[in-house]
């Protein structure tokens, strides 16, 4: 978005070509999380809290390194740890940075009834506008990744913004900035996709991870956070990453066919009774027919 404002199309009193005109810039941004080089240091968790102004939350010890069971309304970035035993008996500590995936086809946005409480920017960021949030929690039901979280005192739902405030002024998200191993990357979607595929190929050919691959689920139209996984065939191993996430069927039925059937039904009903009145009129009781008509069939 910010790039569009710096791109020239016409210049007054200018001889010759317009510099940069016709340039085709890609606006779609993407975060790449390479789980194979994550060391689980949680610098991204801290950077997220710092940038977004949240204090550290109480942690839950659950016999793992994980800070808490799932992300919270004020804890948008959480590394999920899984001690995974492989077929040959060796152990792997799988670590995946969990946050909003910024789906191209966002279930939260589809389910939301409040005008402009959730917006999707042209660069792919899906952002909650808390001022317009009515706190219904439908987004929590629409999301296939369990990301939006409700804050009871404010009655609003919060989630990762992909640091929209930083990205819009040309900075990378706070988590990317903090990562010491370079397992986090930020750039355009096509660049990140290319980098991820290169890395996956490297893992397959050089490191013996035959099933290494990129997680960019097509069921939600692709995401603006993509993962490199050692085992792309079993994303569930990485802290319950869904294999084929999509907007839930019941949400699609509710916002699709049911809406049409319902609206048609309501209008049909209201018009129907009006037409009935025009055709047949009211049931009027003649006050003198009381004793005349008393027969029971």
């Amino acid at each position: 978005m910010s790039q569009a404002a710096t791109e020239l199309i016409r210049i007054s009193g200018h001889a010759g070509v317009v510099p940069g005109a016709g340039l085709n810039r890609e606006f779609q941004v993407c975060k790449l999380v390479d789980t194979t080089t994550c060391i689980g240091c949680k610098a991204c968790e801290v950077a997220c809290l710092e940038w977004n102004g949240y204090t550290f939350s109480e942690t839950t010890f659950d016999n793992s390194y994980q800070t808490m069971p799932e992300t919270a309304w004020n804890y948008w970035n959480l590394i999920k740890f899984n001690e995974h035993e492989r077929a040959d008996g060796s152990m792997m500590l799988l670590m995946r940075k969990d946050q909003c995936m910024h789906c191209a086809d966002p279930g939260c946005l589809a389910a939301c009834p409040a005008d402009a409480a959730i917006v999707q920017y042209a660069n792919g960021i899906v952002d909650f506008q808390e001022a317009n949030c009515i706190g219904c929690g439908y987004c929590m039901t629409g999301c296939p990744f369990n990301i939006p979280k409700f804050d009871p005192p404010s009655r609003k739902v919060f989630k990762c913004t992909l640091c929209n405030d930083r990205v819009s002024v040309g900075l990378e998200p706070a988590c990317i900035k903090a990562c010491p191993t370079g397992c986090l990357h930020f750039g355009t979607k096509s660049e990140m996709k290319e980098l991820a595929e290169t890395r996956a190929e490297q893992l397959r050919t050089n490191s013996g991870f035959q099933d290494a691959g990129v997680y960019d689920p097509a069921g939600v139209g692709g995401t603006h956070v993509i993962y490199v996984l050692h085992d792309a065939k079993n994303p569930e191993l990485y802290g319950g990453l869904p294999k084929d996430p999509r907007i839930p069927l019941s949400v699609r039925l509710w916002k699709g066919p049911l809406k049409w059937i319902g609206n048609f039904g309501i209008i049909f009903g209201a018009v129907g009774v009006f037409i009935h009145y025009l055709r047949f009129g009211p049931k009027v009781v003649k006050e003198d027919e009381q004793e005349l008509h008393g027969g029971t069939p």
């Binding site: 799932e70 389910a111 009834p113 409040a114 005008d115 009515i134 706190g135 219904c136 929690g137 439908y138 929590m140 039901t141 369990n146 979280k149 409700f150 009871p152 009655r155 839930p248 069927l249 019941s250 949400v251 039925l253 509710w254 049911l258 809406k259 059937i261 319902g262 609206n263 039904g265 309501i266 009903g269 209201a270 009774v273 009935h276 009145y277 047949f280 009129g281 009211p282 049931k283 009027v284 009781v285 003649k286 006050e287 003198d288 027919e289 009381q290 008509h293 008393g294 029971t296 069939p297």
Partner: protein, 219 residues
């Protein structure tokens, strides 16, 4: 001569007691609020209703509480009327002549008791849909307490709640139309409580005859 509680001295018949009318309007007013705020959440084209009713945040906050009032009203109605709402073998004949009823060919309709089978359908429709609306509504009220592995409950609730609401809207449209425009005298019966003897005889003949028999037995 002791005064008959139903056959009023001015040639009127008591159709609904004060208690019944109060329960009716408690349920009715809460339903209308639920309907309006529910429609606001149903479609973006109707979101303005929530704005008029004090904003969507307040509507979302109050909708569940009004739901509890509504369910309370329905349960009072159940205790008042469920015996009279019981389906009887005679109802089949009434439904068979529903065409006559719709065309106002009233002399060809089997006589009705205190509640005709159409009213029974309305009552049980609201009763059963009310139960499902309550259960799904509780889930929608506090979704943050439904853990992720019980997510199917939330997914079911977001679909079932509007389906049942639409079913009640169908009943509601017919109920309001019949109670205000179609059946002259019916609206007064739920406001002041009484109807004319001719009205009672025409629309609820079996009930009226029973009142007459009871009155005669009392004398």
């Amino acid at each position: 001569m002791s005064r008959d509680p139903y056959l009023l001295p001015n040639g009127r018949v008591l159709r609904y007691s004060f208690h019944e009318r109060l329960v009716h309007w408690l349920t009715g007013v809460s339903y209308v609020y639920l309907l309006l705020t529910g429609l606001a959440f149903w479609s973006p084209w109707l979101f303005w209703i929530a704005v008029i009713l004090g904003g969507a945040t307040i509507s979302r906050e109050l909708h569940p509480w009004f739901g509890l009032v509504f369910v309370f009203g329905v349960s009072l109605m159940y205790s008042l009327w469920h015996r009279q709402m019981k389906e009887t073998p005679a109802d089949k004949a009434w439904w068979a002549s529903i065409g006559h009823y719709i065309r106002n060919e009233d002399d060809q309709i089997p006589s009705a008791d205190r509640f005709n089978p159409g009213q029974k359908l309305l009552f049980w429709g609201f009763f059963w849909n009310g139960i499902v609306l309550l259960l799904s509504g509780l889930i929608l009220w506090l979704p943050q307490y439904i853990p992720w592995n019980l997510r199917f409950l939330r997914l079911a609730a977001v679909f079932v709640h509007p389906v049942c609401a639409l079913a009640t809207i169908a009943l509601f449209i017919i109920h309001v139309y019949m109670g205000t425009a179609m059946e002259r005298g019916a609206f007064g019966s739920v406001i002041r409580g009484d109807v004319s003897r001719a009205w009672a005889n025409k629309h609820h003949h079996t009930w009226y005859e029973q009142l007459l028999r009871n009155s005669a037995a009392r004398k």
